[in-house]
Symmetry: C2
Subunit: 346 residues, 2 copies
């Protein structure tokens, strides 16, 4: 299989996506090409040997071949002709905006490009923490109680302390604050509203345990990663979270009863099927008093959470063969023919 | 102002969108160009004089100038050079898939194109009747009770009769059946599942009154259309619904108390703000025992529901000046610089 890895994007997680691409280059045993989406949303083909931090931070990528999207895939110009970037499947590895908010899914569906990653509806529902709550409710998955704070409502809502404030539409702990009193609340709101006009407030529970489970569905069978209990202090900040996913050491599974492991998997299945078909996602759960709560869905997790799987290469190979785009609708013009026949007017 | 009207799309409502474009050509007093999206999702510039049914049903549009999307807008090639299609704002007039499911919104946000129409989140939530219900719930707008029927669950749910079956993701009454008994149910399910894997079932209420209200928000002020009580027999079918919107005669407002009119507007405001900013939408409401229920949201209504407004041209001119795309995120590469400085590793 020949894959193209799409990374970058006009996203707060642009740089993290570059790290993800570098990590997958090391992990994936396949014929790979790399498509970089810069901050202006121009696409570039990055040669594998140039896939390093300096290429991007020095803007050297601008000397590389420019790509553009058309029906069927990415193309580039050479002297007098136009060529297609050959690949069997694109891996959407843009984190946050563009990659996880539905834009890339929409572009690839529109242009008929085969890809691994969340589809349009799945992206929009998992990108916004408020919709994620509503989605979870609708499928019978528990989440923690929450209140929305909206910049345009000027609401003087005072939560119980300690609480946690999260911008509705950002991943990777960006703009998130743990708030212990009223003074901290004002500051946390200022930070949060810099990133989003909707903030979500939850009670901050110090004793809560978090567990990550990644997986996907291939030919109607679920494939699960091991269950990880991530390390944390208060909550994982940006650097901790992402430097962590370049690790190679074998993880040990979280110490949980078989019953709770099964509960986590049952919740994952409800969330995944059928909304996230085509994607390899990571769900972050809380366990509180033996009950499972969904915290968030990462439809393009850092480095695709490869470190949680024993047979990552095989999973990607199988998943890429199983992904499907929308069926085309065939246009017959029978309606135009009929009103034309009746009235000759249009 | 110079507008480009985008119509067509790979949608069951492709032909209806052509009708919409023909109607708007007559109504909009402005410098107009026309961008046709064919069933293969290729774009063509259609000269105003060729905007008629035959151009499309005979495939003659294929002789016209091909357009392609790049950063900043639509471009076309001429001998040795590339030119931009000049326009101040695009009007998204694709109905159903592509235009109302979030794809066009995503493309235009991605490529930085200014447009009138629903944004990405608004599209996904209003395109799917189930998410519309959940959205309405979350903002305190009533909807009728419903049950979901999913093709992949094989559920032998038996509703109360008469009921109405609707594919979750289609507009314009396509695939909808009113069902009076068990025999009709099997047939209606077959029809519905041809179009969508999720069907929504509601009780069919013969005595229910439907009211349509269109509007938009410009500079924080709401502009409303008159309230219309559409004619119906059982429910409006495809042809009835769309032949109706080319009418030019002045409508008379529905016979409702001031109190109920106000209730409809209050519900519209809750639905619109802020999710639908940038769009001119039509909400279809039910009134039952003096209570208002949302039936559906049309974020690109047929011919933009021009016939419901007294000053349609002025509204479009003001709205087009007020639409905003997402703010760009600026990428500093401070994270890559910092990990590079510390480790020289990436």
């Amino acid at each position: 299989m020949k894959y193209a890895i799409l990374f970058g994007g006009n996203s707060y997680e642009h740089e993290i996506s570059i790290v993800s691409a570098v990590v997958l280059k090391k992990i994936l045993k396949a014929d790979l090409s790399f498509i970089f989406c810069d901050e202006n949303r121009e696409f570039y083909a990055i040669p594998s040997i140039k896939l390093n931090a300096k290429t991007f931070s020095s803007q050297a990528f601008k000397k590389e071949k420019k790509l553009y999207l058309k029906q069927g895939g990415f193309y580039f110009k050479s002297f007098l002709s136009e060529n297609k970037l050959e690949c069997d499947c694109i891996i959407n590895l843009i984190h946050g905006r563009d990659g996880e908010d539905g834009k890339i899914a929409a572009l690839f569906e529109f242009y008929g490009v085969k890809f691994i990653g969340p589809r349009l509806e799945a992206s929009v529902l998992s990108f916004n923490k408020e919709w994620t709550k509503l989605y979870a409710q609708s499928i019978g998955v528990k989440t923690l109680p929450y209140t929305m704070l909206r910049s345009y409502e000027n609401k003087d809502f005072i939560p119980n302390f300690p609480c946690i404030l999260k911008p509705a539409r950002l991943g990777s702990s960006i703009g998130i604050s743990v708030v212990k009193d009223l003074k901290e609340l004002a500051y946390a709101k200022d930070i949060g509203f810099e990133f989003d006009e909707d903030l979500l407030i939850e009670e901050f529970k110090n004793n809560i345990k978090e567990y990550n489970l990644a997986g996907c569905m291939i030919e109607d069978e679920f494939i699960f990663s091991i269950i990880e209990e991530p390390q944390k202090k208060d909550f994982l900040d940006f650097e901790q979270k992402y430097l962590s996913f370049s690790r190679h050491n074998q993880l040990t599974e979280a110490n949980l009863s078989e019953d709770l492991k099964e509960k986590l998997k049952e919740n994952f299945k409800k969330i995944y099927n059928p909304l996230f078909k085509g994607a390899l996602i990571r769900c972050d759960f809380f366990i509180l008093d033996e009950e499972v709560y969904l915290n968030e869905i990462n439809p393009n997790p850092g480095s695709l959470a490869h470190y949680l799987f024993k047979d990552f290469n095989q999973i990607i190979n199988k998943l890429s063969k199983d992904v499907k785009n929308e069926k085309k609708i065939s246009i017959t013009y029978s309606f135009l023919h009929s009103i034309n026949g009746q009235k000759g007017k249009l």
